[in-house]
Symmetry: D2
C-alpha cells in the first residue's frame, strides 16, 4: 500500500464515508436473497458461512479502526473477537476455520445488528475526526473496504458451493442475461522479448503484495486472444484428458485420482449432455461460454494437451497493461461468465472479468517487497507458499476492486472460485 496516495485520496471524510457506505451496502445486497437458514452452514472447510463473512468484515473495522482510535468505544460483544478473527494469529487465537459452520449463534439478526453498530461508530468517528486522525484511519478503512470486497466475492462463491451440495439445488437468483451465444475465434498476440516493468506504481490503493514496481526480463511470447471456452474444454474431456497421465503434473494426477475429477466443478453429465450448476440453478453447458471452476492442475493439463502453456504473471500483466478495465463483474448482476459475444476486433479480449486466469507463476514476493507492519502484515505475506497467481478478476469480483496489478492466489487444487484458462506459448 502506498500510504502517501491513500492519505491524499481520503483527506476528505465525505469521500471515505461514501465508499464505506456503498461497499457495506453491497455486502447486504448480496445476502438479500438468502433464507435465514442459509447464513449458517459451511459445506466444506474452504467455504465460510455467509454469517461469518458478514461478521468477520465488520470485526476488521472494529478491531483495526475503532478499538485503537476511539478510547470510549465498547466492543459489541466480548467473544466476537475470538469468533470472527480469521487468520490474524498475532492478535489472538482464532476460532478453528473448519468449525465456522457449527455456530448457530450469534443469529443472523445479531450479526446484522453488529454490522450496523460498527458502521454507526465508524461514521461517527469519521465525522468527529480531524485531519490527523483521518490520515491515520483513512488508509486502514481503505484496506478494510478492499478486504470486504474480497469477502463479497467469497460470499458469491461460498453461497454457490453451499447451495450445490444440497440435492434440492436451490436457486440464488434467476438468470438475467440471455443474449445469443456466439463462438468467438481464438487468435494469438505476440510480444517481443525485453526488459519490462510490472507491479503497482503507487497511484491509488493497492495491496502490499503488488509492490514494488520492478523490472523483469521477458523472452518473446504469444498469448491467446481470449480464455478457453466450455466447448474447447469438452474436446479435452472427450479426448480422454482426465485419463491420460502424460498431461498432468504429478500432484495434479493424484488429485484427479483422489477426487475422481472427470470435468470442472459443478459439471454433471445427464443423458449424454453436460449441465452445470450456476447461481441461477442447473442448466445446460453453453459451449461458447468461458470455462470456469477448473483447478490449476486442470488448467495446466489442458495447456499441455493443447501444446501450449499458461502465461507467466509478468507476461499477463505486460499483455494487458494498456487495456481499459471493463467486462463482466459483480456489478453486472449476472454472477456467471457471459455467453459468447461478438467482439469488435480480433485482439486481446476478456482479460478482466468473467473468470480469473491461472498463471504458471507461484505466489512469491516481488523483489524488494515489504509487507505491512504488525497484524496487517499477515494479510498476504504468510500465504506466499504453495499457491499460484491468478489475474484479471471474475464475474463475481467487484469492478471497483480490481486492478491491472492485482495478484490473486489460490492453492493449485482449488476449484470453487470462478477460475479459468488463458493459453500462452514460447516464440522460438
Amino acid at each position: 500500500m502506498n500510504k502517501q496516495m491513500i492519505i491524499e485520496t481520503h483527506k476528505h471524510s465525505k469521500a471515505i464515508e461514501f465508499r464505506f457506505t456503498s461497499i457495506r451496502k453491497f455486502t447486504e445486497h448480496i445476502v438479500e436473497p438468502l433464507e435465514i437458514e442459509d447464513f449458517t452452514i459451511q459445506a466444506i472447510p474452504d467455504v465460510s458461512p455467509a454469517k461469518w463473512h458478514l461478521a468477520h468484515t465488520t470485526w476488521f473495522f472494529e478491531t483495526f479502526v475503532l478499538v485503537p482510535n476511539n478510547p470510549s468505544y465498547r466492543v459489541f460483544h466480548p467473544r466476537f473477537d475470538y469468533l470472527f478473527n480469521s487468520y490474524y494469529e498475532t492478535i489472538g487465537n482464532p476460532f478453528p476455520r473448519p468449525h465456522r459452520g457449527r455456530l448457530t449463534r450469534p443469529s443472523k439478526q445479531e450479526v446484522m445488528d453488529y454490522r450496523h453498530y460498527v458502521e454507526e461508530h465508524i461514521l461517527n468517528l469519521l465525522k468527529e475526526s480531524d485531519e490527523e486522525l483521518r490520515s491515520k484511519i483513512g488508509p486502514i478503512i481503505e484496506i478494510g473496504l478492499n478486504h470486504e470486497q474480497q469477502h463479497q466475492e467469497l460470499l458469491f462463491t461460498d453461497i454457490k458451493y453451499n447451495f450445490y451440495v444440497n440435492p434440492l439445488r436451490p436457486v440464488y437468483r434467476k438468470k438475467t442475461q440471455s443474449s445469443t451465444s456466439v463462438n468467438q475465434p481464438l487468435n494469438w498476440e505476440v510480444f517481443k522479448e525485453g526488459l519490462i516493468k510490472i507491479g503497482h506504481n503507487g497511484k491509488g490503493f493497492s495491496f502490499d503484495n503488488e509492490s514494488p514496481r520492478h523490472k523483469v526480463w521477458l523472452e518473446s511470447y504469444e498469448i491467446a486472444s481470449r480464455p478457453v471456452t466450455n466447448g474447447e474444454f469438452i474436446e479435452f474431456i472427450e479426448d480422454g484428458g482426465y485419463e491420460k497421465v502424460a498431461y498432468w503434473l504429478s500432484d495434479g494426477w493424484m488429485a484427479v485420482k483422489a477426487e475422481g475429477w472427470k470435468a470442472p466443478l459443478y459439471w454433471e453429465k445427464i443423458d449424454g449432455a453436460w449441465y452445470n450448476f450456476t447461481l441461477s440453478g442447473m442448466r445446460e453447458v453453453d459451449k461458447n461460454e468461458l470455462v470456469a471452476h477448473v483447478s490449476y492442475y486442470e488448467a495446466d493439463a489442458y495447456a499441455r494437451w493443447a501444446g501450449k502453456r499458461l502465461p507467466r504473471e509478468a507476461e499477463w500483466e505486460n499483455a494487458f497493461s494498456n487495456q481499459e478495465i471493463k467486462g463482466n463483474f459483480a456489478e453486472s448482476g449476472f454472477y456467471h461468465p457471459y455467453v459468447g459475444q461478438e467482439v469488435e476486433n480480433n485482439g486481446l479480449q476478456k482479460g478482466f472479468g468473467d473468470v480469473w486466469e491461472w498463471t504458471m507463476s507461484p505466489y512469491i514476493p516481488y523483489p524488494g517487497n515489504k509487507p505491512l507492519d504488525g497484524a496487517l502484515g499477515e494479510y498476504n505475506a504468510k500465504f506466499m507458499c504453495n499457491q499460484m497467481i491468478l489475474r484479471g478478476g471474475s464475474c463475481v469480483t467487484p469492478l471497483s476492486h480490481i486492478r491491472l496489478t492485482y495478484r490473486n492466489f489460490f492453492q493449485p487444487e482449488k476449484r470453487w472460485q470462478f477460475s479459468g484458462i488463458r493459453l500462452a506459448g514460447d516464440i522460438i
Copy 2:
C-alpha cells in the same frame, strides 16, 4: 412387537388419534425455544440437525402409513424420501448421515408445513378407516410414535451438543428445579442365584428386540442402591483414574488417549472447580447429582477402580422387575439429572429416569428373537454388533416411552447421551 396386543390397544381410532396428536405436539414443544438458525447444524456426525429430526419422524409416517395405504396420497416433496430416510437402506439410498448439516433447505418453515401436511393426512386416514385398515395401520402408527419419542430424546441430546460447541454456550431453557442437594448413601441389594425370566411379556407395545420373554440362569449378585454420583466420580478422577491403564479396557485406553478424555463430556475445570454444561448453561458440578455423559469405557473403568463391575442386563431387569416406573423424565421439564434428594428407604432407587445405566451386556438378539419383516426389520436387528445395552431411561426420555424391558444401545465410546453408572458385584 406383539402384534396381537397392539391391534387390541388400537381398535379405537380415538385413542390412536389422541396419542398421535399429543406425541407430535411434544416434539414441537421441544424445539420451541430454538432460533431458526439452530435447526440446521450438525456439530459432529453423531448428532443430527433439529430440522432433520422433525422431518425424519414425519417421513416415517408418510412412507410406512400414507404411501402404502392411501392410493390418492401425494407425497409432500419428491426428494424428501431421499433427504429424510435414515438407515432404511432396503428402501433407498439415504442421504449421507455426516452431511445432514449441509442442508439449509428445506427451511424450518417448510419442514413444519411438511409435518402438518402429513399429520392432517394421517388423521384423515384414521377418521375414514374401517376396522380392518385400523388393525393394519394401528401397529405401524404405534411404531412411528415410539420412533418419534426416540427422536425426542435425541433432539434434547443433539441440541445440547450443538450448543456446547459454540463458545457463546447458549442456554436452551433456564434452570427450573432448585431443591436442596443431599448426599444419598450407597447400599447394596443382594439377589440369589436362580432361573429367572426377562424380556417383554407381550402386553402393550414393545420393540422387536425385547422379545421373546425367555429364561436366564443368574448367579447370585449384588447391585448398588443408586447410580454413581458426581462426587464419587470426582474421587476416581482425583485418584488418577484417567491416567492408570490398569483400569481400562484396551479400546477404552485408546479412546482416552485419542480423545484426551480427563472427565465426563461437558465437564470443564475452571479455577480448580468442576463445571459442566447443561441445557440451562454452564454451572458448577453438584456432587450429589448422578454422573452423566460417561462412555461405557469410563463406566467400566470406574467399576474396576471401585473393585466392582457393571450389571448384566438380565441382572438389571431382574432387580427392577417389581418397581413402579417413575422418576425424572422428559415430562418433568428439567432435562438434567435431579440434584441429590432424600429418599424414603435404603432400597433400590432411581432405576428409571435421570440417567441411562450402562450394562456389561453387548447388544445381541434374545434367544428365538425374530425381527420385524421388511424395512422395519432394519430398525433394531442390524445394530446388534459393537454396541452395549443401557437400561432405565434418562431425564430426557419421555416417561410414556420407557418400559422395564426396554433395551437401549450405543457404541461403548459414545458420551453425548445422559449415560451413567450403576455398580454390581459377584457374591462368592
Copy 3:
C-alpha cells in the same frame, strides 16, 4: 488358570523341560522356510514380523520367569524389554505396534541368539530349582508355552498375509496333501432346552477367561453337522450376497463398502474361476473345502442369507462336549483346511481344527470370572469389548494347544485368521 492343577502337572522338572524344549523347537521349525528378508516386515498393523514373534515369546520367559526368580540373571539386551513387550502396559511403555516392521535390528541372528540364551537360562533354572521354586515358576512357564503356541498360529497367519501382498506371491511350503475332494452332506443336530454347564473344569491348563465353569440356560437349538464349504459360499456370492444390504449388520455393510469386499480374503477371480492364495501359493478354489478367511460380518451375512444364524458359544461348547479333539491342526503340516473328505457318520463333524468357527457371542467375562493378578491379568481381560468369540481351533493351531472350552476372540472385521462359519438355528 487353576493353579492347583498346574502345580501338580509340573511337579517334575523333566516334564516341563520336555514341553518347553519341544514347543520352542516347533516355533523355529515354523520359520525354517523363510529367507532372512522375510523376518522383518509387517504388511499391515494387524500382522507382526516373524522376528518380533520370535523375540516377544522369548521376552515373556525372560520377564516373567528369569528376571523375578534368578537374581544373577542379566538380561540379554537392555532395550529388548522396550522393543518386544507387546501390550503389557502395566510393566512399561511398549514399542508402537504399527511400527514393528520398522526394525531391521536386532537381526534375525541376534534374535535367535536371544532365544537360545533365554532357553539355556530357563533350563538351568529348572535344573537347579527345588520343588518350591518349581511350583512357582511351573505355572508361569506353562502360560508362557501356551502364549508361544498362540504366536505359532500367528506366525502362520502373518507369514501368509506378508507373502500375499507381494505380487511375486512367494510359496511358504509346497502343497503336501492331495486326497480326492468329496462333497460332504449338510445335516442338522438338534439339542433340547435345558440348564447346561460350560467353562473349564480345572483339570489341566486353561486360560483365565475359560473360568469358572458355570450354568447356562439354553433354549432348544439345531446346529449344522459341518462348517460351510467354499461351494456353498460361492452360491452366496453369486446370489449377490455382497451387494444386498439386507443381509448385513450395519457395521458389516460399512466394512463391505469401505474395503470393497467381494469375496473372502485371499480370493481372486481369474478368467471366471475363483482362486485363493494359500501358504502353498495360488490355486483354484476347491468347492468342497471349508470356507476360511471370512470376517464375522461375512459369517453373519451368510447365515442370514441361508435363513439361519451363528451358534452361541454355549451352544457350540454344549454340542461338542463329548467329542474327541482331533482333526487338521498345525501338526499335520498342511496349513490349510483339508479338501472335502468322506466321513464315517452323518453326525457333528470338524468341530476341531480346519477353521475357527465364529459364534454370535461377544467376548465378555463368564459370571464370577477373576482375571490373573498383575501384568498377566492384562492377558485376556482387557480385550473383553468389541470382539466376538471363535471356537474349535484351525489348521494352524497346535493340537496340543486347543481345548473344548478354549475361547478365541477377534474383532468382527478381521479376516486374516483361518476363520469359518458353522450355522445354527432356533427350534420353535
Copy 4:
C-alpha cells in the same frame, strides 16, 4: 540435456564403460555396511528400501537401454518392471510407493544378481556397438548414471532415516573426521543489479530442467558468506522461534503444530544439551557445524527471525558462478557436514557440498524449456509444482554429479535431506 555435447563426450565406448562401471560400483560400496535385514524396510513413504534403490536404478538401464536396443535381450524377471518402475507412469502402472517396504522378495541376493546381469548386458552391448548405436545409447546411459547418482544420495538419506526410527540407533559407519571445530565469521557479499544469465550452457551433461540458459534481471542483493550454523540455529530455538507464529508461513505453522517440530530433524535434547543422530550414531551437536535437516518452512522462519530472506535461485547461481566446485561431498566418506573449519578468506564459502541450500524460488520451468520426449520427459517436468529449489549439493551428493546450474527440488515440509540455510537480503 544438450544432445550434441553428450554424443561427443561418449563417442568412445571405453569412457562410457569406465564411468558406468565406477558409478555402479560406488552404489554397491554404499550398501556394503548394511545387514541383509536393512535392505527391505521403508520407515516412512518418503524413504525407499535400499533394495529398491539397487533394483530401480538397474531397471532404468534394462528398460531404456537394453530392451529397446538389444532384440535378443531377455528381461531378468517379468514382474520387475512392475515392482521397480517408480513414477514413469506412461510406461506402466508402478507398484504403490508407500508399499515398497512390504516386499521381502526378491531377496537382496536376487537384486544383486539382477544388477550384475544387467551390467554384463550393458557392457556387452557397448562392446559390440557401432558408432551409430553408441550415439543413441550413450546419452541414455549418461542419464541413467546421473539417475543412479541421485539414488546414491537417497540411499544415504534413506538409510539414515530408517536407522533413526530404530530405538537401537544403529551406526552406519564410524565417524572418521575429527578436526578442531572453529567458529567461522559471517560476512555479506553484495551484488549489483543487472541483467545476468543463468542455466546450463550446453557443455557436458545436464538435466533438461537446467535449460535453456536465459537472461534474468536481478535487483541488487547481498548474500551470506556461509550457511547458518547449528549455534546460530540454537539461538533461534532459544528465542522461541518455534513458538512465534509471526516468523512462519501459514503452511509452515500448520506443519510445526501438526508435526510437533521443536528443532531440526534428528535433534534431541538430553539433559539440557542438544544431540543429533548421524550416520555415525548419536552425538552432541557441534555449534560450528552447518545446520542440516531443516525444512523450507524452518529455513524461511529462521530468515525472518534474522531480518533477512532466502536467496532467489538466480541470485544463488550468479553469486557462485565463478567458484570452483569443491567441498565436502559423498566421496569424502564423512557423510555429515564438516565441523567448522578455518577459511582462507572472508568471501563466499561452502556453496558446494555440506548442505543443500534452500532458495525462495519455487520449482518451475525456465523460459523456453523443453522437457525430454516420451517417458524420460516425466523425469523432471511433472514435479514442477509445490516444490522449492535447493542448490549446491550436500555431504552425500557425489562430487561428479553436481554442477553450478544443478536444480534440486523438494516439497517445503521435507527434512530428511541434508538441507540447510544461506541468508540473503535486499539492498535498498
